[in-house]
């Protein structure tokens, strides 16, 4: 089922960030919502994720679906290891299974984090934290993945590697990404929607 957004309005005080926004996001596709900074990209994503309420308008096709996200901030648990941050979002005992550990190790290697699985998140560099946040989002159980500036702070080579891995993991799934960088949208081979 596609995600249908109709007539979305959102204001903070006197500032209107979303003005009668409507769109349809096809199921199983990656869509990049592009706009310059401060144009309501993150607000739109937060409304779609259910973290904020719109002043007016409706969103259909998300209720009851499992969500995953790469926030603009990394939002890692500093006290936990990088691997534990990923396992934290995996339901039940799956995270401890050998199969999952192997899959996770491959993912960490692909993202250049092979040596960081047992390292506490607080000891990671900015780029490492970003990639760990991406891995966490990918390994969670999800139907819709929200990406808010997912490659922010990564150098171009790392960005390419990360984008290639994300693209591979998200094939045939619904992904909504917000960015202001057109190259990132191209790397993800996403449909582009300008806000």
């Amino acid at each position: 089922m596609a995600i249908r957004v109709t007539g979305l309005w959102k204001s903070y005080g006197k500032k209107t960030v979303l003005q009668d926004f409507s769109a349809v996001f096809e199921e199983g596709k990656t869509t990049c919502i592009m706009a310059p900074s401060g144009k309501g990209k993150t607000t739109l994503l937060r409304i779609l994720m259910g973290l904020e309420k719109a002043d007016r308008g409706s969103v259909e096709g998300i209720k009851g679906k499992k969500k995953s996200v790469v926030f603009q901030e990394d939002r890692l648990c500093e006290n936990l290891s990088t691997g534990a941050n990923v396992r934290l979002v995996v339901k039940g005992k799956t995270g401890r299974s050998r199969q999952f550990q192997e899959t996770m190790s491959r993912g960490f290697s692909r993202m250049g984090l092979a040596d960081c699985i047992s390292q506490p998140a607080r000891e990671l560099s900015g780029g490492m934290r970003r990639r760990a946040a991406i891995l966490r989002a990918l390994y969670a159980d999800w139907d819709i993945l929200f990406l808010d500036e997912p490659f922010k702070g990564l150098d171009i080579e790392t960005k390419k590697k990360a984008a290639s891995f994300v693209k591979e993991q998200c094939r045939g799934k619904t992904v909504l990404c917000v960015t202001h960088d057109e190259k990132e949208a191209q790397m993800l081979e996403a449909e582009i929607l300008v806000l």
């Binding site: 969500k67 996200v69 926030f71 901030e73 939002r75 648990c77 936990l80 934290l88 995270g95």
Partner: protein, 258 residues
């Protein structure tokens, strides 16, 4: 890593250095010798000697055991109750509103009033349990509630999106966020509960308690005993705090394994 080093340096700056302790012991010894009257100010050497004499008696250890079990018991009960009620208050505003006047009242009432009042309700044997509980609960409750409320909202949003279960949220998000508040609360509350607990025993005079020993020292103007028992109280209080906090850190480290 740099922040860890900075923390260590800060801790070192605030820590008690041996040379400073020795300096103050010398000052104490000198003043005591200057006064020349044991009843007014006993010397540290005499206190140490008296402590040695007491330590070989069964009564000494019985008194320590009696007071330790009750004051530490009151502390542990209060810590558990404050954890429960802080959790409930954070989740339900009505519980918080209900507890607010009670906590404020307990904080404001002088400990001596409590001691006399509680002495009417409970036997003097268990007075220090109740007093220790009453001293610890408001401090721990306030600290824990503050800790829960200052939990990183961004992490809670993350937990909501990933549908992380409540037990997991508590174990991996709340515990680490609340721990510094809990530790700070423990440090303050432990000092308070020992002071108030012993004061309660001095007033209630339960048999075989440290409070009774202090009371006897007062009645017989036995200054060496008074100082020796005071040293014992300070040492037990410090030792208990160190052991308790180390135990908490050990439990948290095990709890956070995933």
């Amino acid at each position: 890593m740099s922040s860890i080093t900075a923390d260590k340096q800060r801790n070192r700056k605030g820590s008690i250095r041996l040379w400073a302790v020795i300096f103050w012991l010398f000052v104490w010894q000198a003043v005591s010798m200057g006064i020349g009257q044991e009843i007014l100010l006993v010397s540290p050497v005499r206190v140490l000697k008296r402590l040695g004499e007491l330590a070989v008696t069964v009564d000494f250890w019985n008194s320590i055991g009696f007071s330790l079990v009750r004051i530490a018991g009151g502390f542990l009960l209060a810590a558990a109750a404050s954890l429960l009620f802080a959790g409930l208050s954070a989740g339900f505003s009505k519980v918080r509103e209900l507890l607010a006047p009670a906590v404020l009242t307990v904080k404001a009432i002088p400990v001596a009033s409590f001691i006399i009042l509680v002495l009417i309700w409970v036997p003097s044997r268990n007075l220090s349990v109740a007093i220790s509980f009453l001293m610890v609960f408001p401090v721990m409750y306030t600290n824990l509630l503050k800790g829960i409320e200052s939990t990183d909202q961004e992490l809670l949003e993350m937990a909501e999106i990933f549908q992380i279960s409540l037990p997991r949220r508590i174990r991996y998000i709340y515990v680490s966020q609340v721990l510094p508040f809990f530790r700070a609360g423990c440090s303050v509350a432990l000092g308070l509960c020992w002071k108030a607990g012993i004061a309660a025993e001095v007033i209630g005079i339960p048999d075989q308690s440290i409070g009774e020993m202090l009371y006897n020292a007062k009645v017989y103007l036995n200054t060496p005993d008074l100082f020796a028992w005071t040293v014992v109280i300070v040492l037990i209080s410090l030792l208990f705090e160190k052991l308790f906090l180390a135990g908490i850190d050990w439990c948290v480290a095990r709890l956070e394994r995933i």
